[in-house]
């Protein structure tokens, strides 16, 4: 009960202070729109390709919607020392960091459904396997957020967090199987693809939207969950060793 009070209040403060601000919301809407437009222009194709584009736009929306948020909710608060208040609160660090990341996760999931809603006007969504798609989106949001957390606790300036997250985001974008199928990448690059959480998330999205996954869903889910666990654990360790000097 007490833990719930703490969790909810940290989450709702971040929601009010950061996530539900007009610039953030409009970004969440414009970003998927822009990506959809880009995909159409690049491929020069018509509406029949919407199912092919949807997984990519969803994945990109989640990735960009989540990773950089932690630069604000964590790095910024650390820099301005209000994060010390949270570290002084009599709650386990795990609960605290879950509360600090849940906002980004929720926001990321919401972002993913912006292109889905747009696609609903353009394609028949009855083919989508929601039972796979929804947990896949949630796990992508978790893993991208925890990647953002890992970055946010490894740096001390907000701009560093943002630069550093691009260092992860752009390679992920190009190597996760969104633009080119992984089989068409040079052999030496493939291991890099398989070392990225987004690869497994994108595979699940392709599977649920158009039955075009290349790996067993169980493997995809397992790898995503493993990435979440490792990134979260390493981030907590970094906070304990680097911030609690």
């Amino acid at each position: 009960m007490r833990a719930l009070t703490v969790f909810w209040n940290i989450l709702s403060k971040d929601m009010r202070s950061y996530y539900l601000k007009p610039p953030n919301i409009s970004w969440g809407l414009i970003f998927p729109l822009a990506w959809t437009g880009m995909f159409f222009i690049r491929s020069g194709v018509g509406l029949e390709s919407v199912p092919e584009l949807l997984p990519g736009v969803m994945a990109v929306s989640v990735l960009f919607g989540t990773t950089s948020m932690l630069a604000v909710t964590v790095t910024f608060e650390k820099k301005h020392r209000s994060f010390e208040r949270l570290l002084l609160a009599p709650i386990p660090l795990e609960l605290l960091m879950l509360a600090k990341t849940t906002g980004a996760i929720v926001f990321g999931v919401a972002n993913a459904f912006v292109p889905v809603i747009m696609a609903a006007f353009l394609m028949d969504l009855s083919v989508v396997s929601w039972g796979t798609l929804i947990p896949a989106v949630v796990l992508i949001a978790f893993s991208s957020t925890f990647l953002g957390l890992f970055i946010a606790v490894s740096v001390s300036e907000v701009f560093e967090a943002q630069t550093f997250s691009n260092f992860f985001r752009f390679p992920m974008l190009f190597l996760c199987g969104l633009f080119f199928p992984i089989e068409r990448l040079p052999v030496w690059l493939r291991p890099v693809s398989y070392a990225m959480p987004l690869t497994y998330g994108v595979d699940l999205l392709h599977e649920s939207v158009r039955r075009a996954g290349t790996m067993p869903a169980v493997l995809d889910f397992g790898m995503l969950a493993a990435f979440c666990a490792v990134l979260f654990a390493v981030s907590l360790r970094n906070i304990k060793t680097k911030w609690i000097l």
């Binding site: 833990a3 703490v6 940290i10 403060k13 202070s17 020392r81 570290l87 002084l88 009599p90």
Partner: protein, 330 residues
Amino acid sequence: MSGGSEPVIQVEGLAKHFDGVQAVADVDFEVREGELFGFLGPNGAGKTTTINMLTGLARPDSGTIGIAGIDCSKKPKAAQHLMGVVPDESNLYPELSGFENLSFCGALYGMDRRDRRERAGELLERFGLDAAAERKFAGYSKGMKRKLTIAAGIIHSPPILFLDEPTTGIDVASARQIRRLIADLNAAGTTIFLTTHYIEEAERLCGRIAFIVEGRIVRIDAVGNLMRLTEGRHVVRLSVSGGAAGLCEAIAAEMPHLACTTTGDGDIRVESTEPVRVGPLVRLLEDSGAEVFEARRVRESLEDVFVRITGIEAGAMKQEKDRAKAGAGA
């Protein structure tokens, strides 16, 4: 107040270094229940580092920390529910109002909504901030910010309160108000650990004081005992024209039983274990070419005791601090 009996804070052999700097070295002390304990020392002495280790924001290199009988050396979060912490810099949320800040801080300690609102309202009124309750923290003056930060530190009515330089860098009126609040809190039973570099503040508020210099405690004693060190010493201060250069040498040559120093503002300070005979002293100075305007008996203060024990000139300590603050910007 040297009240209670139980030690609520028990520290032994506490040490901490930062790359090459020994911030805290082998510190031992105890704070008893209901006490107002002062940590007095210059900038960089290790006061903040000590508070950080006690409250779980820093990990000691060695030593043990007991808070209310709980061993916090290995589990720094184990006693955090008993503590209120007021950092040296106001670190509340600029985008939240005064009321929202207090309510949020209460929530961090698991207080339910009704308790938080009630207590926040009560504290805002008590700190004279009720008119600013709905204004954003970012727009508060320095004094208001510090007061709200203290209110946030006691929102959950902690039995132990840590205050890191609570009156540094704020206006005189707010500082007075804050000192009164601290005294009231202590009178109502809160055990308080306070750091300061203002000697008068330590003297006025604290029951016992630890002098800390370069990470080491050089003396811990009750203020009463420290003041007793001033007894049996006779000090006379003389204002002279044309500066005090060379005069102490003249005194040392003629009146070796007097210890002479020159003060920061060009006066001469003469100290002895017997009453100082002013007539011969003035004649000697005038024979040495100085003109004496005033000679007065000085009662020794805690400041003199501090200077004597630590070897640190108190004025220099304050100036250094204020320079550091000014350099850091507003």
